[in-house]
């Protein structure tokens, strides 16, 4: 089995397999990693958190469901939900075909420093590698 995941170096990552991208306006986009979508298989349903919802770091806030299983998505940092990607309602499979383009929701983080403190690609790769053993 290959574990050479596709991991863009400009993103931050969590141990629960979310990726985080800081946007020009300071908000962050959150999706699930290539490794996570590969494990889950064909996506058929995405439920994003409501706009305005205040989240704590590591709080369960979204759900992605493949044919095979449902998986929770966690807030990578504390903050407020500012957008959901409604394009995924009718095209959940974009998470499979373009995991780093298919953001699930956006947050305004309480502290930008929390985002900077998340894992980089190399640290996340180490997490993926350790799960493989």
């Amino acid at each position: 089995m290959s574990n050479s995941s596709n991991l863009p170096s400009n993103l931050k990552y969590t141990a629960s397999h979310e990726w985080v991208r800081t946007e020009a306006d300071g908000s962050i986009s959150i999706g699930i990693t290539d490794h996570a979508q590969e494990l889950l298989g064909d996506m058929v349903f995405v439920e994003a958190p409501a706009n305005g919802r205040k989240l704590k770091a590591k709080e369960e806030c979204a759900v992605v469901e493949s044919v095979k299983a449902a998986a929770d998505v966690y807030a990578p940092v504390a903050g407020e939900v500012v957008a959901a990607n409604s394009a995924l309602d009718n095209a959940p499979e974009s998470i499979n075909s373009d995991p780093y383009g298919a953001w699930i929701f956006r947050m305004k983080p309480d502290n930008a420093a929390d985002v900077a403190a998340l894992m980089d690609a190399a640290a996340y790769q180490a997490v993926v590698d350790s799960e493989a053993h």
Binding site: M1, E38, G41, D42, V44, F45, E47, V63, E65, V67, K68, A70, D89, N96
Partner: protein, 360 residues
């Protein structure tokens, strides 16, 4: 724990399978996209490694009479050589030990195919019952045999392309009938709701057969698509839709349980003494989401539970089998608890899809 491997393990890995622990077996869940594999079987054909399932031969004088007593369905329905019958094997209290298929080959030989996870206990039970009621019989687990299912509208043609020597003996097979072709035992059975064959052959020959089918254009299909295909076809999965705690009449198996004939069979008295209060129905989710096993179903007649649920690639909706109170009727709407929400589903008659088409 070391996972058990079928003789096709290396072939799966060579074909890019994602392998998972399936009841202690290292099995392919998909070779890429489970949804593509599902459509492949509905629209063309695909092949499944079902070597983990167990073939059992029951041989000797009086084998039919023994099976008539052992099984809830009536072996006397089998009059044409090769014909197959789906049946539950019950405990004395009516719980389902396993669901299986028996093939009537001769009055001295019936072949039985049982589930992987239950094979050892099934064979122990059969031997125990045979010792008490038909000690002359030989019950043999055919651990030398492998099995490959080739399913889909083009499945039979592809098998004949690979095994032309078996065509004459198998082209006249009815649905649910098998032919013993020497090295190959070929049955027109399956678990997908499509036409096709299940082919039993020596373990030592199965890898070459698998690659030959692939050369003929048959794609490998993983357990993921196997589950959505069988769910759409309204076929039970042992351990999910029924088990030893479940009355078969509450698991959609009434059509396989013969309570009318005077014949006695193990579990019959318990079934007659405990009329079913629940039944298995189909659900189609009307809201957005995915139905899954063990979700609670709220109906006007009381609570029920989903036994199998998933996304139907054919219908592009979420579907499920659910055990609900008898009062629930086709067309009713019910509510299903999914996480913190109550979602609306409609009760439907299943199967949901067969022979390439949605039926809902």
């Amino acid at each position: 724990m070391t996972l058990k491997q079928t003789p096709l393990n290396a072939a799966h890995r060579a074909m890019g399978a994602k392998m998972v622990d399936f009841g202690g077996w290292d099995m392919p869940v998909n070779y890429g996209s489970q949804i593509d594999e599902h459509h492949q079987v509905r629209n063309d054909c695909g092949m499944f490694d079902v070597c983990h399932m167990r073939v059992v031969d029951a041989k000797g004088d009086g084998v039919r009479a023994f099976l008539r007593y052992l099984l809830a369905n009536n072996a006397d329905k089998l009059t044409l050589p090769g014909k197959a019958l789906y049946s539950a094997m019950l405990r004395p209290d009516g719980g389902v030990i396993d669901d299986l298929i028996i093939y009537f080959m001769t009055e001295q030989w019936f072949r039985i195919v049982v589930n992987a996870g239950t094979a050892d206990k099934d064979i122990a039970w059969m031997k125990q019952q045979a010792a008490a009621h038909a000690p002359q019989l030989a019950i043999t687990s055919r651990d030398d045999l492998a099995m490959v299912a080739v399913q889909g509208p083009n499945a039979r043609a592809r098998v004949w392309q690979v095994l032309p020597q078996t065509k004459a003996a198998t082209e006249g097979l009815q649905n649910f009938q098998a032919a013993d072709c020497g090295e190959y035992f070929i049955a027109r059975t399956g678990y997908t709701g499509e036409d096709g064959f299940e082919v039993m052959l020596l373990k030592s020959a199965v890898e070459a057969f698998w690659y030959a089918l692939n050369q003929a254009g048959v794609k490998p299909i993983g357990l993921g698509a196997r589950d959505t295909l069988r769910l759409e076809a309204g076929m039970n999965l042992y351990g999910q839709d029924m088990d030893e705690s479940i009355n078969p009449l509450e698991a959609g198996m009434a059509w396989t349980v013969d309570l009318k004939s005077p014949r006695d069979f193990i579990g019959k008295a318990a079934l007659l003494a405990n009329p079913p209060t629940r039944k298995l129905v189909g659900l189609v989710l009307l809201d957005r989401g995915v139905l899954r096993g063990h979700q609670q179903v709220h109906t006007a007649h009381g609570e029920g539970e989903i036994t199998s649920g998933s996304f139907s690639p054919t219908l592009e909706k979420s579907i499920a089998l659910a055990r609900v109170p008898n009062g629930v009727q086709i067309g009713d709407t019910v509510q299903v608890a999914i996480r913190d929400k109550m979602l609306v589903a409609q009760v439907v008659k299943y199967p949901f899809a067969r022979h390439g088409k949605g039926l809902i």
